[in-house]
């Protein structure tokens, strides 16, 4: 049983981690917007090269997973453990789909020669600034994918604890905090999606 003091401690810590991570991504957002301002054509071309349907599906997948984990938290408060377990498995599956699509998209890009570093080839328009777009694309989506993986590890840990019945409706705090983190990872993607898939010039 987690004591009230421990719960408060972990809650402060998780919110602090989220603040820290937000600043981590804000540096990259700053880079993106500065360069986008300088090279609107290259960024427009880059957004067109990125595979829109994959980005769109991935957004749907992550938002659904956020819904599923919110449902798990809700079910946990009513001690419906079986629902919790199903929701968590769904979140993990959706996270897996997200990563699979991400890897598929990177693979397509790389096979077309759109690679980070070295010589960029960005198809129809390979002007000044397009290498910046794709360096940021790989860096930001890659960093976000690492966060998805970290979140999935945490969710798997929570799921195992639910199965072992060490995480119950009386003591749901670990699930709530992990869900909080997962929502944050989701929210970051909600910003990345328009920046890399929607915002044509």
């Amino acid at each position: 049983m987690t004591s009230l003091a421990q719960v408060r401690r972990f809650r402060v810590a998780v919110w602090t981690v989220i603040a820290s991570e937000a600043l981590l991504f804000s540096g990259l957002f700053g880079l993106y917007w500065s360069y986008r301002d300088e090279y609107p054509r290259a960024f427009d071309a880059g957004v067109r090269i990125d595979i829109a349907w994959m980005g769109g599906v991935n957004t749907f997948v992550l938002l659904t997973s956020s819904f599923a984990i919110a449902w798990a938290v809700h079910a946990m408060r009513h001690a419906r453990t079986r629902v919790v377990a199903r929701c968590l498995v769904a979140v993990l599956l959706l996270g897996g789909v997200f990563l699979a699509l991400k890897i598929a998209e990177w693979t397509v890009h790389i096979s077309e020669g759109v690679v980070p570093g070295g010589a960029y080839y960005t198809g129809p328009w390979n002007g000044r600034g397009s290498s910046l777009f794709f360096t940021l694309y790989y860096f930001m989506t890659g960093l976000h994918a690492l966060h998805v993986i970290a979140g999935m590890v945490l969710i798997a840990w929570v799921a195992l604890r639910v199965r072992a019945r060490t995480l119950t409706g009386d003591d749901p705090h670990a699930l709530e905090l992990v869900a909080l983190y997962w929502h944050f990872v989701d929210a970051i993607w909600v910003f990345l999606w328009p920046m890399f898939y929607l915002m044509r010039a």
């Binding site: 602090t16 981590l24 990259l28 290498s131 910046l132 860096f139």
Partner: protein
């Protein structure tokens, strides 16, 4: 039964979760890095005795000032007071058994050591010649070991963030019952404000360094004008951390000064609320001043003005503190001892360094002084002088708490005199050199600058001598010092209520917050 010997064994130290032991390990580590960084500085100073630099080649010189900066900034000053004394004292001062997450605290220490080792590997395997600021595009194109050094610093940053999270959670949730925010000791406030900066600024530095490391390794050209990149953008990201970082260095020092001033004057700090306000104010405004590093790097006049004014705002917060400290001392019956002597030096260096800071925040003047020894002298006065004298004040002030022994006061005063005088003699000539046009980071100079360089080097030798003497008598005192008793300074602060040295569980009996940390009655 003290935390030093209980439990016994090397393993019980290396894998300890006791905040005091972790703090002591940090203390040993940062002292080693202080000596290392100081040695680099001493070689630099010795090679500058002659205008044509016979001691080291110009390229070695470039590496030496880079190594000096990297080691001093990231391996000494950033962790010095927060990680060492913050770890040891924070739980004691708020009556806690330990920090909020003892295991993460231990992980944080070993991550710091791992990062430091990676940095040292970079220094040995080819070295780095970019300056500690890693400015692009040079840092991404130099053949030296930038990638390795940047990754090492990144790893120490992870440790900083974990420490910051731990301290924030500790202050929020581990205070002894009855200890309200408005009664927190000022050192705790300082560590709390520092932790906010650690948590919010360090990730941006980590990002900047990761980008430099990746760029250097794979030629991404993210900040390279050849591929459309903007080197000034790197400077923005870098200074977004590295300017707040100077407050990571100085805020804990200010906290130490507040404690020592109050204890030595035997009265509660004047303007407690104002000091807290100024502490948080510096932490927050510190995030909005980074642009003053780039007044000549291509910035609109409007931006220059805004960053200049915001930078000067920090001087107001700092002045509040200086006036509060002097008012505390004014009319108090001050017991003179080594810690308060170091605080006097701190206030001197801080006031003069701070005033030169207002001067360099003035853009018209900064254009003249940018990248000269004037700036070097300014930041050494305020940041290095401030951090180091506060660190030494803390080391002497809490030495009896930590060891149960008293160092030799005579040697303490001699060491303090040597360090203080050495510091002032080293850097005062550099103000003059910079104003006369001596650029920083040059291995050579015109002959008419020689006498000022010689004076500076003499000061550096005195400073180094003072530091070595200090370490020697302190180490000797661990073994041979007179027993200090639980509270040799007769301080009212909470950490002195436990035995000195404290037992592993910090307090012999469950602590009670029955009187304030500055409750000296009407004695003053």
């Amino acid at each position: 039964m003290s935390f030093w010997t209980e439990p016994r064994g090397v393993k019980s130290w290396l894998l300890t979760r006791d905040h005091k032991r972790i703090g002591v390990m940090y203390l040993v580590a940062v002292l080693v890095f202080l000596l290392l960084g100081g040695t680099f500085a001493l070689i630099l100073r010795l090679s500058l005795v002659e205008p044509d630099n016979a001691l080291v080649s110009p390229h070695t010189y470039d590496k030496l000032f880079t190594h000096h900066g990297i080691v001093m900034v990231w391996l000494f000053m950033i962790p010095s007071i927060p990680s060492a004394f913050g770890n040891i004292m924070l739980p004691l001062m708020i009556g806690a058994r330990d920090v909020a997450f003892p295991r993460i605290n231990l992980a944080s220490f070993w991550i710091f050591i791992a990062g430091a080792i990676v940095v040292l590997v970079a220094l040995v395997a080819g070295g780095v010649d970019t300056g500690w600021t890693f400015y692009t595009p040079y840092s991404t194109s130099t053949p030296t070991a930038t990638t390795c050094a940047a990754i090492g610093v990144f790893v120490t940053g992870v440790s900083s963030i974990l420490t910051g999270i731990n301290f924030i959670a500790t202050v929020h949730t581990m205070r002894v019952e009855g200890l309200r925010w408005r009664d927190l000791p000022l050192f705790v406030w300082a560590i709390y404000a520092t932790s906010i900066i650690l948590v919010l600024a360090t990730p941006v530095l980590g990002l900047a360094l990761l980008l430099v490391a990746a760029d250097h390794a794979w030629a991404l050209g993210l900040f390279d004008p050849n591929t459309g990149g903007d080197p000034v953008l790197f400077e923005h990201i870098f200074w977004f951390y590295s300017h707040p970082a100077v407050y990571i260095m100085i805020l804990p020092g200010m906290g130490v000064v507040s404690e020592v001033v109050s204890t030595a004057s035997h009265r509660k700090p004047a303007w407690y609320g104002a000091i807290v306000f100024a502490t948080i104010g510096i932490a927050l405004v510190g995030f909005l001043t980074w642009g003053h590093h780039m007044f000549v790097a291509g910035m609109s006049t409007f931006d220059v003005g805004v960053f200049g004014i915001l930078s000067m705002l920090v001087a107001i917060f700092s002045a509040i503190k200086v006036f509060a400290w002097t008012s505390t001392m004014y009319g108090g019956s001050i017991t003179i001892a080594t810690p308060i002597l170091y605080v006097f030096t701190f206030i001197f260096l801080f006031v003069f360094g701070g005033m030169s800071g207002v001067a360099v925040a003035t853009s018209s003047l900064d254009v003249h002084w940018h990248d000269t020894y004037f700036v070097v002298a300014h930041f050494h006065f305020i940041m290095v002088g401030g951090t180091m004298t506060a660190f030494l004040a803390a080391l002497h002030y809490w030495f009896p708490k930590l060891t149960g022994k008293m160092y030799s006061e005579t040697w303490g005063r001699l060491g303090c005199a040597a360090v203080s005088l050495g510091f002032i003699v080293t850097f005062t000539p550099q103000f003059l050199l910079g104003n006369a046009g001596m650029p920083r980071r040059y291995a050579t100079y015109p002959a008419h600058f020689q006498w000022l360089h010689v004076v500076s080097t003499v000061g550096a030798c005195l400073l180094a001598g003072g530091l070595v003497v200090t370490l020697v008598y302190l180490i000797a005192a661990i073994k041979n010092g007179k027993p200090a008793g639980a509270n040799p300074w007769r301080s009212a602060s909470f950490e002195w209520r436990s035995p000195s040295p404290p037992p592993p569980e910090n307090f012999a009996e469950p602590p009670r917050w029955d009187r304030g940390a500055y409750d000296y009655g009407d004695a003053a």
